[in-house]
């Protein structure tokens, strides 16, 4: 057989070649698409507050903790929030599901130390019932062994983080513990140094309200604004207020 004849015999039919190329292209495109959709849909799970309805009305209980470093996962050194689900398990999430027109009793276990506010105007508690938070633990140089109402704190020496919901006018500077042996791996237990900060606020109409920490606490990022400050699940999230 001539050389040309051998080459022709080895070559695949044109239609088969085109089919293979098309199939490969479609497979790669599909894989990229699936990965892209998966990436976009990746996010912290919504965690519902414990709701108690009585004749007097709706009350919901939400317990969170703030840690200086999450201690695991792809960003172990990042500062983060965690929330307790109705089974009492700590979940790494910042999407809190709350009922509408309900009184929310929120407790924050603050395991992080002081990170000064960039703007001290956020040292004022707003949007909560009575415009106060109730702190057990350190408030700067003061130490409260019982839950003590606080309405304004010095932004340079007191807050660790804030819980700020612009659309609802809520701003709460979480008082930080002044201890040095801080918990470094979440979830932290009350055996570690901590403050307990409690607030009560009311939800209004159903909606999706974004919240953020306004303290620039993204350590090692420019002006503290990157990383956890701009990543869902760490220092920002949503209040998913659902129709009740």
């Amino acid at each position: 057989m001539s050389e040309a004849g051998e080459r022709t015999a080895r070559e695949m039919p044109r239609a088969l070649r085109m089919g293979l190329v098309g199939f490969s292209f479609a497979a790669v495109a599909s894989a990229v698409g699936v990965w892209g959709v998966g990436f976009l849909r990746t996010g912290p799970p919504p965690v519902a507050a414990k709701v108690v309805r009585t004749a007097s009305g709706c009350n919901a209980y939400l317990t969170i903790q703030t840690v200086g470093s999450i201690g695991y996962g792809p960003r172990p050194s990042w500062v983060s929030y965690l929330v307790q689900n109705t089974k009492g398990q700590w979940v790494h999430s910042t999407i809190f599901v709350l009922p509408s027109h309900c009184t929310i009793h929120m407790t924050n276990y603050e395991y992080d130390g002081v990170t000064p506010l960039r703007n001290n105007v956020f040292g004022r508690v707003t949007g909560t019932v009575g415009g106060k938070e109730y702190v057990t633990g350190d408030v700067g140089s003061k130490k409260y062994s019982t839950s003590t109402p606080v309405s304004v704190v010095d932004g340079a020496t007191v807050p660790a983080h804030t819980f700020t919901v612009p659309a609802l006018g809520i701003n709460v500077p979480w008082a930080a513990t002044t201890a040095s042996n801080l918990c470094a791996v979440a979830p932290c237990s009350p055996k570690s140094p901590h403050d307990i900060d409690k607030i009560t606020f009311k939800t209004g109409a159903a909606g999706y309200y974004r919240w953020q920490c306004i303290v620039p606490c993204g350590l090692n990022f420019l002006d503290g604004n990157g990383g956890p400050m701009q990543t869902m699940g760490y220092m920002q999230g949503f209040l998913a207020v659902e129709q009740s």
Binding site: P116, R118, V152, V153, A156, N171, P216, L219
Partner: protein
């Protein structure tokens, strides 16, 4: 052949005066359009007439529209007329197209008209920038053209005269502070208090001192006709004067500033001078415990080099070995 020779020649069809036709149609259409723009569109054109700068924007855009309409009609008319009267009806010239070569009149007219338009816009734009003194745009830390009563120096801006209803000149300084992802406002004439809400009095010239604590933002209360970049370390001044009308307005960030840029939005209110004064004095008293913790009023606030580990008002930072040189 003999018959043809005897037949009297048909009179040549007289070519109409195309330019005169186009000019007359253009003149009528332009006049109608400009009258419609002035009387019907102008009063409704964005951003409205709620402040001097908004009204200025509205007037400028109306004038530009009235200038643009003749140009637009000229192009459309020439195109349409050419399609109707100069289209190819089977008599293609040898080189494939008709054109007028080396028409000095057309060239001179073109250059003269376009030069006139550009020069006219230059004069109009410059006059509009200077004459109203405060066009609503950020004019940097020391604006060249200021409205009456505006402080002429940074020192004067830091120490403004007290504001009361009816005071003349009724200039109110409002410091706008952008930070990821909220706006706050400081009021040097009310004890340096800082609020998260924005109220303005009617019939008052406002001096917005716009700055940022972190990245670049842009303060944009659209209906006030104000837009000024908020740069860290820079005081960007913008002026406007409210009218007697009370209303609400939206302010937003117009500079992509991070993940929640789109949520950096709020609602401001223009209220009567008396209502504003009541609000401001009440807030001043209410916020006194918080104002104690604020740094002294300043035109800019420089973030600390300590980043997340330190206070971002330098006066609150403890000196580090590096910064003290030890």
């Amino acid at each position: 052949m003999a018959d043809a020779a005897l037949t009297p020649a048909a009179p040549a069809q007289r070519e109409p005066h195309h330019f005169a036709r186009i000019f007359i149609i253009w003149l009528v259409a332009t006049a109608i359009a400009d009258i419609l723009i002035w009387f019907f569109l102008y009063p409704h054109l964005a951003p409205g007439r709620l402040t001097s700068s908004a009204h200025g924007d509205q007037y400028d855009m109306t004038v530009l529209l009235m200038c643009a309409a003749p140009v637009l009609f000229a192009v459309w008319l020439w195109f349409g007329y050419s399609c109707i009267y100069f289209s190819n009806r089977g008599t293609v010239p040898e080189d494939g197209a008709w054109y007028e070569r080396d028409s000095v009149a057309i060239q001179v007219s073109w250059i003269a008209i376009t030069s006139l338009i550009v020069f006219g816009l230059f004069v109009f734009g410059t006059y509009e920038l200077i004459a109203p003194a405060g066009a609503g745009g950020g004019e940097g830390p020391s604006a060249i053209w200021r409205p009456p009563g505006a402080p002429s120096s940074s020192y004067a801006a830091l120490h403004p005269k007290p504001w009361k209803p009816g005071s003349h000149p009724a200039l109110l300084e409002v410091q706008v502070i952008g930070q990821q992802w909220l706006w706050t406002f400081r009021w040097p004439q009310f004890g340096g208090m800082e609020t998260t809400s924005l109220y303005l009095p009617t019939n008052t010239t406002i001096q917005f001192n716009v700055t940022s604590l972190d990245v670049i933002h842009s303060f944009w209360p659209y209906r006030l006709g104000v837009k000024a970049d908020a740069n860290p370390g820079v005081n960007n001044v913008a002026y406007t004067t409210t009218t007697g009308q009370t209303h609400s307005f939206t302010y937003r960030c117009d500079e992509l500033c991070g993940i929640w840029h789109g949520d950096m939005i709020g609602t401001g209110h223009v209220v009567s001078q008396a209502a504003f004064y009541r609000w401001a004095t009440t807030e001043e008293k209410k916020l006194a415990p918080l104002t104690r913790h604020l740094p002294p009023y300043s035109l800019t606030y420089t973030p600390s080099l300590h980043g997340a580990g330190g206070g971002l008002y330098p006066q609150l930072d403890k000196p580090t070995p590096k910064s003290t040189g030890s």
